[in-house]
Amino acid sequence: MSNEASTPAPLVNVQIDGAWHQFPKGTRIIEACSQVGKFIPRYCYHARLTSPGNCRMCMVQLGMPKMGPDRKPELGPDGKPVHNWVPRTNISCAQDVSEGLSVRTDSDVVKEARKAVLEFLLINHPLDCPICDQAGECRLQEFSVDYGQANGRFLEEKVKKPKHVEIGPRITYDAERCILCTRCIRFMREVAKDDVIGIVNRGGQNYIACHPDRALDSNYSLNTVDLCPVGALTSTDFRFKMRTWFLKETKSICTSCATGCNTVIGSRENLVYRQTPRENGDVNQAWMCDYGRLAFRDLASPERLLTPIVRGGDQPDWNTAFASIANAFKLVAPGQTAVIASGKQTNEELFLAAQLIKALGVTLHDIVPHTSEGDDILLSADRNPNTAGAKLLGVSAATPGANLPAIADGVRSGEIRALIVLGEDAAQIGLSPFALKNLEVLLVLSTLPNATTAAATHVLPSAGFAEKRGSLINKTGRLQRLNAAVQAPGIARDDWEILSALLGTLTETAPGFATLEDVFQAMAAATPAFAGLNLGKIGDLGVQLPTASF
């Protein structure tokens, strides 16, 4: 978001439920009401999409200033305009505030209008709550309780429409639950730029559909599930898995690319069930891509590394593992170690890796670039979430990956005797298990086994992105923080703890950092870009770093 100063819009005076307020010209009535604590129930309206005004739920009563013969508003005894009240209710989502407007959000006629709309929405709505994933975060449920009527008067047969339609590879659609608010259609057209869903049939028979030749398979399709106010569009991955009210919600960020979309991780009893985007106007608006959203599934893989592994067989405890590593490194001279770090690591981990690099006299170190096709919506071509941090903290080469060929050559030629791989697979830089067998020490931090862990002398199980805390810098230089939603499995540890202990072991000093905050402090002291910051100051929405620091 630009920080340029722009001329602020002029303010208009608006009365809401008797109290006068001021709002910038161009504010929607529904937003103005929210801003003063008067929430207007709504289905089809979304602040980031166009407003079709079709659900009719956001009704309010509007009063226009009574104009005198001199074309100026008539003033009452309190010196404020007198109002002519529009006899019918009006929707509040498609009109901006105007000078002298008065709004009633909870008069009797407004309450009756809401009851009427809710009744209409419920008459054909199936009694699916017991099996519907949306229960607990369903706006039809919520508004029925808040604004609806208790008794049903519908004696007819409900309209039958298709249920559990595989409308896309990741989305299930239930046409009977659908209230035709069209948020999904507008999102696909306006944000995802893939105008692939529409409405078929007419009147009470209509429902959302794809043409048979296409599917709702966009990389942004799951945002429609977030947007859907009811259980019409649901995530097939999440279907029937967990009741939403059991989910612990942890604010975090996505680590699947350099955009760093803000997220909420939904977990229960140490299992992550879903991720949803969290609103951040400076990063991802209210969206995230499917690729990043579903990346949590690896966390529960049965292949997860649970304990340290030494020399391919033993599974000792951590202390024994560190002792073994210390011994192994005694056979390695300074300058004979290379480090393959990762653009997926947090700043704190990279800072500790940099310390390790200095302590071991490492000259060959780099991260592994991961690039793929990006788009101009959210997905970055850079699939490393913290390339910026790796460069800033001096762990990456100036051009990430530039040192990797030298590292590979060094290993093959025998010049490199010890290779530390932090969360990557050396096979990706062309080092086969055969080549790796030459190394005196192959120390790997990983969450899952791969070709490198199979060839390693020491494997240390580390934490997945939802199991650790730390900070990362996204592609625009925004510093954002990860929060831990679940614990790492087995006796796997948070990477910063492992690296801090390694540093201590290999330099034969006591571990210098008791908490992650201590690491950040040391990092901030050594890095001007982080001056004055701490993990708390990063906040839920992150902090934009000054661009000069890159």
Binding site: D195, V196, I197, G198, I199, V200, N201, R202, A209, C210, H211, P212, D213, R214
Partner: protein, 160 residues
């Protein structure tokens, strides 16, 4: 899909009537296809969408919204009979029943109902705007008003 050149010419002519937006030609193209082929096939939907540079759902939306478009072939001659109030008051229901009898179409049919011999199909439609001379019906594009039961054989014979 094979489009005969004269139809292609008509299609391009229709599109030229909408200089601002090609999408406006959706309905005219659907009419041209239905007039030529008798109904709107799945290929037609895809063809029209591609021609107008639209997603195919944009055309499918129209075909399912506007009742004049049929997705299955009708009978050789298609009868539309009005069922709305004024024609109903003038006896449209019994006229329809007699028409069904005369063509062999089951009386309780819905939508576009085709006779077993494929010669005729019947569809009940809404007000055809000739309320003062009901009951009214159309056979293909021909309009008939104040139709009585004994006229049915004469009318149908024109099309056999």
């Amino acid at each position: 899909m094979q489009i005969p050149p004269p139809l292609l010419t008509q299609i391009d002519e229709a599109i030229s009537h909408y200089p601002v937006s090609k999408r406006s030609a959706s309905l005219p193209l659907l009419h041209l296809f239905q007039e030529h082929f008798g109904y709107i096939s799945e290929e037609a939907i895809s063809w029209i969408a591609e021609k107008l540079e639209l997603q195919p759902i944009a055309i499918l939306e129209l075909v399912t919204f506007y009742p004049m478009f049929r997705r299955k072939p009708p009978g050789k001659h298609h009868i539309r009979i009005c069922k709305t109030l004024s024609c109903a008051l003038a006896g449209a229901a019994s006229l329809r029943a007699k028409l069904c009898e005369a063509t062999g179409i089951p009386a309780m049919s819905h939508g576009v109902a085709v006779s077993p011999d494929g010669k005729f199909s019947i569809e009940s439609v809404e007000c055809l705007a000739s309320c003062g001379s009901g009951p009214v019906l159309m056979v293909n594009d021909d309009f008939y008003q104040a139709v009585t039961a004994d006229e049915i054989p004469t009318i149908l014979s024109k099309y056999l």
